[in-house]
Symmetry: C2
Subunit: 333 residues, 2 copies
């Protein structure tokens, strides 16, 4: 951390005010050239970095408190996908100007989620420039129990956690492509701006799941990574996937959203920060118990097959065409 | 790492081409949700993040190969300041467009320095947005031997490594504020664009130095952090500091640069990526031996004093005024 940039910076002393707190777990916290971290015996360190850019990962109108939450949440979601327990994080921040209100709100969103996971901000960097938030999270996982993309086995059940598609629904409303009742929009917007990283579920699935990934860019894309890394294929029951869309639990709205839209949102929506994972059929009770422990819904959406491709089936078991591309940061607006 | 952003991205497959290599040391490399790293028994993990923004940390005209080197070098410099051995790094990159030539050059500069330190790129993120490079480095240091800012003791000698001020000289020439002969400029520009992180020196100073920091924002500012963290002051022999300016070794140029400019450049220049450290006077031979081992020049520039302020002295021992503010990213252009 180039702390001189904080200490000698006049108005940038504000940043120190918002982001410097005593570390509870690390040996050394914010302020030296490096942060020092003790890793527990028998544990591997799990590390992930995500960079969030305005206009691509969040809208300029976003509530900064929600942004602080989301910037950390998307990183914690990567730890969840490995079954790791979060331990600490680094924050690198480029800001066009120093806005105390913005910083206060942003940091409160960040701290609330950090506190919920009992993790420290141990270092980072601040500079002036176009708004950019780069967080690196550090976690621990027993060396032999990390959940990987490469462990899926033929015959495994495929599951997803929580709800898919609602975040994308909110984005499409923002873009003016869809219209939904106000309560549906508010709930979908919450899912977009305040995702819940499935850390407890990831940890509960250690020793149970054969493989896992987080769903950040759409189920089909992220499941595709498991299939590729494991050298297997999948059969997906699309009506099970569509059933994970939270907004259709609203009776009035249920009939307004056709099945094709439900499938596009849930199969390829992106920004879900749920887990997709696989486990052997004889682990169904164990998966249910993990779901219970983590207080997180899981839905079985299909199974792993030997042929190297992904097959979508409708409610009658008929094969459906693949017309749902993964959300692509470089093709979409 | 949101690998779907690489795998499904058409032209962004290029990024995978440039940044994906088999990891040599990590348990898992680029491609899963997290990278997994084994930390050696008895070692602490040392972590640092630096974010580089165009127009602030580098000029738009910079050779991308040099930029690749520098982006990693400034991070390794933080590890050096802690006496840590580099182990791995994460790269988060925001790019306005995918330019294969730029990516090829940037990655070659990055790999060359990574290879020199035998470290792996183990993960990260890529997105579209204003050019921003955020690197997080991970290193190891024995728990009790980390060099901290807080360890300086009254009576310690103060040393700096290598050369100070030349990088800032190059910047001032770029800005049109100074004129220097072409060979002087080329050598100063090399110092600005291709800093050498003092990793070997930092490791050699384990158990010898009481405190250390890297000089990224100017000697006075970074030494100031040691003084503040240690609750001590310092007496600085400014002519010793000025003597570290490499460009004045050029005979013709020596007489053209007045002492005030030499002092401004070396005391407050910034972008040096050298180490400032302190050690007890009875460690002078050990410091000389560490310098020899690391093949890195060190210069004694003063000593740690009890009063809580920093005193600058001229060649005759007279106290000089403090007119050299630290380089400030938010006040300078």
């Amino acid at each position: 951390m180039r702390e001189v940039m904080l200490g000698f910076m006049g108005e940038f002393d504000l940043i120190e005010t918002f982001f410097k707190r005593p570390a509870r777990h690390a040996t050394l916290g914010v302020g030296d050239d490096c942060a020092l971290l003790a890793v527990s015996p028998g544990q591997h360190l799990a590390i992930s970095s995500d960079m969030l850019v305005e206009g691509r990962h969040f809208l300029s109108t976003v509530n900064p408190r929600h942004l602080g939450h989301k910037a950390l949440a998307v990183n914690l979601s990567d730890l969840a996908a490995c079954g790791a327990k979060p331990k600490a994080f680094m924050l690198a921040l480029s800001l066009p100007q120093v806005d105390p209100h913005w910083l206060s709100e942003f940091s409160q969103g960040l701290w609330a989620l950090a506190d919920a996971h009992d993790i420290d901000l141990i270092g980072g960097d601040t500079t002036r420039g176009p708004l950019n938030i780069c967080i690196t999270v550090l976690g621990e996982v027993p060396a032999s129990q990390a959940l990987l993309r490469s462990g899926a086995q033929v015959g495994d059940d495929i599951y997803v956690s929580g709800h898919l598609g609602d975040a994308r629904l909110a984005l499409e409303v923002f873009r003016g492509n869809m219209k939904v009742p106000a309560p549906v929009f508010e709930s979908a917007r919450w899912r977009m701006e305040q995702p819940t990283p499935r850390v407890a579920l990831g940890m509960a699935l250690r020793g149970i799941a054969h493989s896992a990934a987080d769903i950040s860019d759409g189920l089909l894309g992220d499941l595709g990574h498991i299939l590729k890394a494991s050298g297997v294929g999948a059969e997906i029951e699309t009506q099970q996937v569509a059933s994970t869309l939270a907004c259709i639990s609203s009776k009035e709205f249920h009939d307004q959203l056709d099945l094709a839209s439900q499938l596009a949102l849930t199969l390829s929506g992106g920004d879900d920060y749920e887990l997709v994972f696989t486990a052997a059929p004889d682990q169904r009770e164990a998966v249910a118990a993990a779901s219970q422990t983590a207080q997180t819904r899981v839905t079985r959406i299909g199974y792993i097959s030997a042929p190297h491709h992904l097959v979508l089936r409708d409610a009658k078991g008929h094969v459906m065409p693949h017309t749902f591309a993964s959300f692509d940061h470089f093709k979409s607006a």
